[in-house]
């Protein structure tokens, strides 16, 4: 497969492609990003609970394997579009947590200068076109980014993250149809965490697996274990390769689970404690650590060192953000249009 593997493969040829096609450094970086997502979100939640941040947030604790696995083989020239539950995608695509914290705290240093907040975190420099407050909002956008790539005859791809809720929106169907008709280089990655807010996919969706909807749009569709970074990465990598080869779009459904509520105000009335506990037992991070150890890619002490480094990065990021610069009210119109920016004498 077309990989971005750097260095020596981490495991032998008999190992599954995920381990055979990535270097040890890449895999350890993947683990680091999963930790980073987890600890960033836990810290963010704590800040919220303590009343230090403004507005709500949607946590993806338990879904880290999907975000990191799907983004591992992308460069900054490749695009992603994200969802309202987008912290993982952002870090998976290479964002720095200090600028994300700064955004949470509404500071000028934030990725969106404090104008977007949790629900609109974006880092265009790494190809991340942004989280989205509208369910299904990113589907046409990623498709459009793929069309732009095709128009300029580029080899880049667009990855479109969306949830099980979005695949009942009209935008999903319109976007997938167009991408298939025009053979656009886009990979639709459905994070099926099984609930659209409180309504389960069983109650909202006519098909058992979202991936079967790919049939309607004449594109490959696969369902994988979203809590296995290897499963996610292998399926998405195959789809990326198809896209880069001009063979068109694919749909990858990653079955996963958010162990936290929909948002901070969720009282979990629609699911049982047993169900949540069961999925906590399928936590993707310890499972990946175990595999890394089993393949001899990372030792326990290396893993501990990664955890400690993440801990420090998160703490430093938090401190960076709390000492950030507050926007001034006179900058309210900044970024509304380029005309406003020119009038204000600022550069984008």
């Amino acid at each position: 497969m077309a990989t971005k593997t750097t260095g020596k493969p981490a495991a032998g040829k008999n190992a599954r492609p995920f381990y055979a096609n990535h270097s040890a450094a890449q895999l350890k970086e993947a683990l680091r990003r999963m930790y980073l997502i987890r600890r960033f979100e836990e810290m963010a939640e704590e800040s919220y609970v303590r009343g230090l941040t403004h507005g709500t947030m949607h946590l993806s604790v338990g879904q880290e394997a999907t975000a990191v696995g799907a983004c591992m083989d992308l460069s900054n020239a490749d695009y992603i579009t994200s969802t309202h539950r987008g912290h993982g995608h952002c870090i998976g695509k290479g964002a720095e947590v200090k600028f994300m914290f700064a955004e949470f705290f509404g500071k000028e240093e934030g990725y969106c200068r404090g104008r977007g907040g949790s629900m609109h975190i974006a880092d265009p420099a790494t190809g991340n076109l942004g989280a989205n407050g509208i369910v299904g909002g990113g589907l046409p956008l990623a498709t459009g980014a793929a069309l732009a790539i095709k128009q300029r005859k580029g080899k880049d791809v667009a990855i479109c993250f969306f949830g099980d809720g979005a695949q009942n929106e009209g935008a999903f169907h319109e976007a997938l149809n167009m991408a298939a008709v025009w053979k656009l280089p886009v990979v639709y990655v459905c994070e099926n965490n099984q609930y659209g807010m409180s309504v389960s996919t069983a109650r909202s969706t006519a098909v058992k697996d979202v991936a079967t909807r790919a049939i309607a749009y004449n594109m490959p569709g696969v369902t994988v274990d979203g809590n296995s970074i290897a499963d996610v990465n292998e399926a998405v990598s195959a789809a990326i390769e198809r896209a880069r080869n001009g063979e068109g779009p694919s749909l990858v459904e990653c079955k996963t689970y958010r162990t936290k509520g929909h948002s901070r105000s969720d009282r979990n009335r629609y699911r049982s404690k047993e169900e949540i506990e069961e999925w906590k037992g399928k936590d993707p991070i310890p499972a990946f650590e175990k595999d890394l150890e089993a393949h001899g890619i990372a030792s326990r002490s290396e893993i501990d060192a990664i955890r400690e480094a993440v801990e420090k990065e998160v703490q430093d990021g938090f401190n960076f953000a709390t000492s950030g610069t507050n926007p001034t009210p006179d900058s309210l119109l900044r970024g509304v249009t380029t005309t406003d920016d020119i009038a204000m004498g600022v550069e984008a």
């Binding site: 977007g116 974006a122 459009g144 935008a171 509304v336 249009t337 005309t339």
Partner: protein, 331 residues
């Protein structure tokens, strides 16, 4: 080479599209039936033969997806021009226009721009009834992050469209369907009509009429009729609905002391309401010598019957009467 030549409004639009595509590879067109069919109003015509199907791209009948794909392509570096077959169909794409295109630059801290253009054939007078005849400029004019333009002449149709394609922000270009066949002088070169600048089409001293698109023509007709009675009307062609050109309007009202707004969209909460408020809030307030007048579309959907359809939007006769009353101090 003579620069004095006449083109129809639709030919002027087509020329702008062709010149923009010639000049910049990133520019491409999307829309329903814009390819071999030539567009519902034959605006794209045979451009598909000149530029190929990739750059004059027929889309499925899917306005939300189509508009959204255009927005995504714009964010990713392309310069798409998306044609709504009728601007009424933009209601299907409100999410992508209002939540995504308009807000993306702001939400992302000014780090991206969204150079997408939506072409919006609008207006009544074709017997297409309620779902194909609306004038929804004011809806979009209410959304920060969008720019809304609307030409009254072939020259501005080309100039405003080229300016819209150049503009780094999302621009909705409204085109009144009854103007497509109107002919006028159109320079051959690639010129831009500045967005955000109105123009005084006729100077006068007794009242200012602010109008857009086809209403500019009706206001000018009314002004000619009134001129014979010694009433001298100044007519401002708005050209840009957002950002609106306050200074031009305010200066004019300071001169004439009377203001009438003439627009085809529904009167209530329409363009005229905004202009009235803008003047009332400005230094021009102290120069008003009569109440401000709004002549807008009726508080009804556009009807099918030609009699009713005509009655639903301002017509020249009614404009003449209202302006006469305004200037004679009868309101």
């Amino acid at each position: 080479m003579s620069d004095i030549r006449e083109l129809s409004f639709s030919a002027a639009v087509q020329e702008a599209l062709a010149q923009a595509m010639e000049a910049d590879e990133r520019v491409f067109l999307m829309g329903e039936d814009i390819g071999v069919y030539g567009g519902a109003f034959q605006v794209t015509g045979d451009l598909v033969h000149r530029f190929g199907e990739d750059r004059v791209r027929d889309t499925p009948i899917a306005e939300l997806g189509g508009a959204g794909v255009a927005v995504g392509a714009a964010v990713a570096g392309a310069r798409p021009v998306y044609e709504f077959q009728f601007s009424d169909f933009a209601t299907l794409a409100m999410e992508q226009i209002v939540n995504q295109a308009a807000k993306m630059r702001f939400m992302l801290g000014g780090k991206v721009s969204v150079p997408v253009v939506f072409r919006m054939p609008c207006g009544s007078g074709t017997g297409a009834a309620a779902q194909h005849s609306q004038s929804l400029e004011a809806w979009f004019g209410h959304v920060p992050g969008l720019k809304v333009v609307e030409a009254s002449t072939p020259e501005d149709a080309k100039g405003l469209l080229l300016a819209a394609i150049d503009d780094p922000d999302p621009v909705l270009v409204f085109e009144h369907k009854l103007l497509y066949k109107v002919k006028g002088h159109v320079p051959a070169g690639m010129y831009r009509t500045p967005i955000g600048k109105a123009v005084v089409r006729r100077e006068g001293k007794h009242a200012t009429v602010v109008a857009a698109a086809i209403m500019v023509h009706k206001a000018l007709e009314a002004a000619e009729i009134l001129a014979k009675e010694g009433i001298d009307i100044e007519v401002i062609d708005l050209r840009t609905i957002r950002p609106i050109d306050g200074p031009t309007i305010i200066e004019s009202v300071k001169k004439t002391s009377r203001l009438a707004c003439v627009y085809e969209g529904v009167k209530t909460l329409g363009i005229g309401a905004e202009i009235s408020a803008l003047v009332a809030e400005s230094e021009a307030f102290d120069y008003l010598d009569a109440p401000i007048l709004r002549l807008g579309g009726s508080e009804s959907p556009i009807p099918y019957s030609p009699i009713l359809e005509k009655a639903a939007v301002p017509q020249t006769d009614g404009i003449v009467e209202s302006l006469r009353d305004l200037v004679k101090g009868r309101i």
